[in-house]
């Protein structure tokens, strides 16, 4: 089997919260709590989950924009969690990020040419300023903007155009993998489709690999090959897209799927309404984090943290219902 492009093992990112001056016992917000997955070259892994479940923190932890607390991240077999900042800087061109808010992700005081030129200059792509300018123009046309926009400032562009600039910045350094952190959720629906198509086109022409974070199932369905469903800092189900949409296994995934509106008004779907809110990640429920909202919840769910079960090859679920040791409890 060929080596996965990105391999994440048991990734944890905890944020300390100080209780008080005298109570030195440390509490943590477990934003990312033991995530493992692999991404193969050329595929798109979609990550879905409610807001606050740790999707974005996970994306930033993989890039070490937020330092992960524990775990291993290997890109093309190279471990990056132990690298010094200087060594990491050289590796940064292999992995890029596209941000959610196109209005906050571009420096308002820099022209488009300067923003994209910075990425090129940092990794010595293009010898002279003139050569880099040509490359910037090339990049702009790659993402569907006019090369003549090079001297303009971000405020002169629409949200969709800005997101294209953000994408151009990410592909400027020829990365192997791009983490797209909800890249379309701030855009109008009509523009969303254009940006999603741009992602698809770039993937084919440049041979990119994506981790595509979103909270919109239809968006993830459109772009992904495989999908990971996150809940409270954990991936509860990781599966091929088709299988996941045909037959969601985890009760949380089932609830998410039932919320997707159907195009056919005659199809009567059973809606699974989740009650209550997402529990606080600073004080997650014991056992299975989802047991407080799960309609199948049994006593074992409150006590034992579910293991990752490979139901069929390549399909992982963290739920006692599919674990042969606890199977009996659910019948």
């Amino acid at each position: 089997m060929n080596q996965p492009l990105l391999e994440v093992k048991n990734l944890k990112t905890y944020f300390p919260i100080k209780k008080s001056l005298f109570n030195k016992k440390k509490h943590f917000i477990k934003a990312v709590d033991g995530i493992s997955f692999q991404v193969n070259k050329g595929e798109t892994l979609g990550i879905v989950g409610e807001s606050g479940c740790g999707k974005s923190t996970m994306g930033r932890s993989i890039l070490r924009l937020i330092e992960p607390t524990e775990g291993s991240i290997k890109i093309e077999g190279k471990e990056i969690t132990a690298l010094s900042q200087t060594d990491l800087r050289k590796l940064r061109k292999d992995m890029q990020i596209v941000f959610q808010d196109p209005f906050a992700s571009l420096n308002p005081k820099m022209t488009i040419g300067a923003i994209l030129g910075e990425a090129l200059a940092t990794h010595q792509l293009g010898q002279s300023a003139k050569e880099r300018k040509e490359k910037v123009k090339e990049l702009l046309s790659k993402v569907g903007l006019s090369p003549n926009h090079i001297g303009r400032y971000p405020h002169e562009f629409s949200g969709g155009q800005r997101q294209r600039i953000g994408i151009a910045r990410a592909i400027a350094v020829n990365p192997a993998i791009i983490i797209a952190d909800e890249p379309v959720s701030a855009l109008d629906v009509s523009v969303q489709a254009q940006i999603l198509n741009l992602f698809q086109d770039l993937k084919e022409t440049l041979g990119l690999t994506y981790i595509f974070i979103a909270h919109d199932l239809s968006v993830v369905k459109h772009v992904s090959d495989r999908i990971g469903v996150m809940y409270l800092g954990k991936i509860v189900e990781l599966s091929d897209k088709k299988q996941l949409f045909r037959q969601p296994l985890h009760p949380y995934t089932q609830a998410l799927m039932s919320a997707v509106p159907s195009l056919d008004p005659d199809v009567k779907k059973e809606r699974i309404i989740l009650t209550g809110d997402v529990p606080s990640p600073s004080n997650p429920p014991s056992g299975c984090a989802f047991h407080t909202r799960c309609k199948f919840g049994k006593a074992v769910c409150e006590q034992v943290i579910p293991r990752e079960v490979e139901v069929v090859p390549g399909r992982f679920v963290n739920c006692h219902m599919y674990d042969k040791d606890y199977r009996a409890d659910f019948i």
């Binding site: 924009l65 571009l106 046309s141 569907g144």
Partner: protein, 298 residues
């Protein structure tokens, strides 16, 4: 679905020409002109800057020449603002004194601004240094700035240069606080994060992304502190700790004049007015700058 060729997605752009944006400088000047206070402030300052710069050409008398027969004369056609106890022309001395006062302000703001920006950026950007720098600044802030300036002069010794340094140090805390606060908000933005993700070095992020975006609060503060530095410097001179007679620094003129307050009110009034007008000018200009540079008012 659109085709696989990304160029088929080119946005139609009605003005698809290589353009430079309407310069933000032009926009800024337009906004400043609308602000009456700022215009008045700028005119007051311009008046004092021009008169002090060209003092040797404007001044009707030599600055330090004593003429005892003319001593303590009130304002007249010969001496517009009167004369002092040695018969020196007050108007002449004020012209030269303006040079000292304005340079003191400039020096104090430049020095404190430089130190303040460096410390503020370090504290805001490198969070581990923050607590040490800010604790130190908080200690400095517990002293009223004039009191601290007096204390520093007491340590360094009386004199013009030391007074300038003292005023500069007493202004540093406000620069640090403003810069740190602005840097804190800018360093969390996604464009700084994007630069980190690209692998841009810290000092380049600070120079290219952070400093340009914290420039406007620094400019505004510098303008306001310019006025208050001149005031503090004059206060030090008035207390006899700064410029020493016969230096015609405005505070020193007031200091000398106060001994003759009952006989020659013009000796204190006009230098005092000059100090007041310059401080007012800087404050008006600073307020105008704040409005003009505020991105929300665009």
């Amino acid at each position: 679905m659109l085709g696989n060729n990304p160029t088929s997605l080119v946005y139609p752009d009605p003005i698809d020409i290589e353009t430079k944006t309407q310069s933000s400088v032009a926009h800024f000047i337009k906004k400043m002109k609308k602000n009456k206070g700022a215009v008045v402030g700028a005119m007051i300052l311009l008046f004092f800057i021009i008169t002090s710069t060209f003092a040797p050409f404007i001044a009707p008398y030599p600055v330090n020449e004593m003429k005892f027969e003319d001593s303590l004369q009130g304002p007249s056609m010969a001496h517009w603002l009167g004369t002092d106890e040695f018969g020196r022309d007050i108007w002449t001395r004020m012209l030269y004194g303006g040079r000292v006062s304005l340079l003191m302000g400039l020096f104090a703001v430049t020095l404190s601004g430089t130190i303040g920006v460096i410390l503020g950026v370090l504290a805001g950007y490198y969070r581990k240094l923050d607590i040490y720098i800010m604790q130190f600044i908080d200690i400095l802030m517990t002293f009223p700035s004039l009191l601290m300036a007096i204390a520093i002069v007491a340590v360094l010794g009386v004199g013009l240069t030391n007074a300038m340094i003292a005023v500069a140090i007493s202004v540093v805390p406000s620069f640090v606080r403003v810069v740190r606060g602005s840097v804190l908000s800018i360093r969390e933005t996604e464009y700084v994060e994007a630069s980190k993700a690209i692998g841009v070095k810290d000092w380049k992020i600070i120079c290219k992304h952070i400093l340009p975006n914290v420039a406007s609060p620094i400019i505004i503060l510098a303008t306001l502190e310019f006025g208050s530095s001149i005031l503090s410097a004059a206060a030090l001179s008035f207390l006899g700790l700064g410029a020493q007679p016969p230096n015609p620094e405005w505070g020193a003129l007031v200091f000398v004049g106060k001994s003759f307050l009952s006989q020659a009110w013009w000796m204190t009034l006009f230098p005092g007015l000059a100090i007041m007008l310059v401080v007012l000018g800087f404050n008006l200009l600073g307020d105008g700058l704040r409005d003009a540079l505020d991105p929300r008012s665009k």
